[in-house]
Amino acid sequence: MNPSMAITEAPGLFTANGLTGLIFLVMMAVTLIGGLIACTAERLVRSVAGLIVCFIGVAALYYFLNSPFVALMQILIYVGAVCITIAFAIMLAAPEENKKNGPAGPLSGPLAFITAGIVTIGLIVMAMRAKFTSLPKVNGGSVKEIGIQFLTSYSMVFELISIVLLIAIIGALVIARAGRSK
């Protein structure tokens, strides 16, 4: 739950570590609140807003984890592109906003609750048992290093992702063009 638990002695609030922890907690809270809004909001557009808050929180966490590149990419791609795409998708496909997705069975509530509970407890237990060691800094988040890594050790993954994106773009184009008569 709280990684600062790993630190044995609780630091004062106004020391550097304490402030860092506080900011970290705030970021956690932002992420969680964003996620909650995204899940529970009645209107789909508000869900997107929640998602954005969530993504910004995640980006801040990345920044905190000393990888500003990933953090900025998170904002640029997830907030700037993915969320807008989702918003457009909602605008294209939501004439009835409040319609629920089919009738919910009598068991669905309890089942969902139980599943969520198990997952949560599992995660908590894992977090408590895990040893938090501070890993060595790999490359200080340098763009150059990341680029070299992408084009050498992870080039296969990188290319596969490109292909997935290409297929997605082609699919989107096909769907979009199908609506036109010419």
């Binding site: 004439p95 609506g179 036109r180 008569s181 010419k182």
Partner: protein, 372 residues
């Protein structure tokens, strides 16, 4: 050209453009059924400034009715009063002195230039360019100053009288008008450089909103709208009235039928109007400005009379049905923009909203003149 649209009636929405909307230049309302940015169907709703001028025509004597005509179209009012006095003079058989007719022609053409100037500015503003409006208004101001000195009014002139004019022009006016012509020619060149050659401007208008000649005929479109569709129709040439046969001028006609053609027609018309003014000032005869034989109370013989004139917006017709009394039994005003605007509903179907509003601008609407 706009891309073809696929009609999905269940996914359209109603957009209410007006009665208060920046593009309608007054209180005009268009109900648009939209499919995204495309117009599926449009219905114009009129009558927001309807004042029942025709009923006033029945209740007032012909002379009392004179000021009403200038309230139709606040931009080119002289053309409308010209139509009225011509109709009465025609029916009552009043001979107008030549000098008066020349001055009428000069002032009407000045007014036409003023009207086109304002249209030019407003039209470019419809397309998102602000500055030309200011330049146009500045040039128009010179005309209004001149007309004010002569007629006593800046917009709603009541200058013409049955049989002549209210007031003779003085040398100052002639001097000012002579000075104005070269200045205006220079301005027109400037407008050409600033606006006509602009690639964004051309792309916005070229091929947009085609109005075929046949469509013009079915709707009775006249004026620059018809001339932009390749119809060589100008009442000044087709049914010459006043002293227009004595002037050497051309009627600009463009065959592209698009918004750009309508724009070009008006820009060329300003030049032609300047030519008329120039010739009129040169050959302005001396003499009286009022007919000598003119009945004090005008009564028209029984019958009905029609007079058409070419105003800045097209052919304005006035039909007077007289029962011999001193006011009309029935007075019908045929306003050009009414017919021109009627095109809009049909022509804008399938258009993008921004093209449609540019098209609306190219029709040169003056709403009080539609609603009368």
């Amino acid at each position: 050209m706009s891309a073809p649209i696929q009609l999905r009636p269940d996914e359209t929405f109603l957009l209410n453009v007006g009665p208060q909307h920046p593009a309608t230049h007054g209180v005009l309302r268009v109900k648009m059924q939209m499919d995204g940015e495309y117009i599926v169907k449009a219905e114009t709703v009129l009558g927001y400034v309807h004042r029942m001028h025709e009923k006033m025509g029945e209740n007032r004597t012909y002379a009392q009715y004179l000021p009403n005509l200038s309230r139709l179209d606040y931009l080119g009012a002289l053309g409308y009063t010209h139509g009225h006095v011509l109709a009465i003079e025609r029916a009552a058989g009043i001979e107008v002195p030549e000098r008066a007719e020349y001055i009428r022609a000069i002032t009407v053409e000045l007014n036409r230039v003023a009207s086109h100037l304002f249209w030019f500015g407003a039209f470019v503003m419809d397309l998102g360019g602000f500055s030309p409006l200011m330049y146009a208004i500045q040039d128009r101001e010179h005309i209004l100053d001149m007309l004010e000195a002569v007629t006593g009014a800046r917009l709603t002139y009541c200058y013409y009288r049955f049989g002549g004019l209210y007031n003779d022009v003085d040398d100052d006016f002639i001097e000012a008008a002579k000075r104005f012509i070269p200045r205006m020619r220079k301005s027109l060149k400037k407008y050409d450089a600033l606006v006509s050659g602009n690639i964004i401007f051309q792309k916005r208008l070229e091929g947009i909103a085609p109005v075929s000649a046949e469509m013009c005929r079915k709707y009775g479109a006249t004026g620059p709208v018809a001339r932009g569709s390749g119809i060589n129709f100008d009442v000044r040439k087709n049914e010459p009235y006043s002293v227009y046969p004595e002037f050497d001028f051309d009627v600009p006609v463009y065959h592209e039928c698009d918004s750009l053609a309508r724009y070009k027609v008006r820009m060329d018309e300003m030049e032609q109007s300047l030519r008329i003014i120039e010739q009129g000032l040169e050959t302005l005869p001396d003499g009286p400005i009022m007919a000598e034989k003119k009945p004090k109370n005008i009564k028209l013989p029984v019958g009905d009379y029609y007079q058409a004139v070419e105003t800045a917006r097209g052919s304005f017709g006035i039909r007077i049905v007289s029962d011999g009394d001193k006011n009309a039994y029935r007075l019908k005003l045929r306003s050009p923009t009414y017919s021109n605007m009627h095109l809009f509903d049909e022509a804008c179907e399938g258009m993008l909203i921004m093209d449609a509003l540019a098209f609306m601008g190219s029709l040169d609407l003056v709403i009080p003149e539609i609603d009368r």
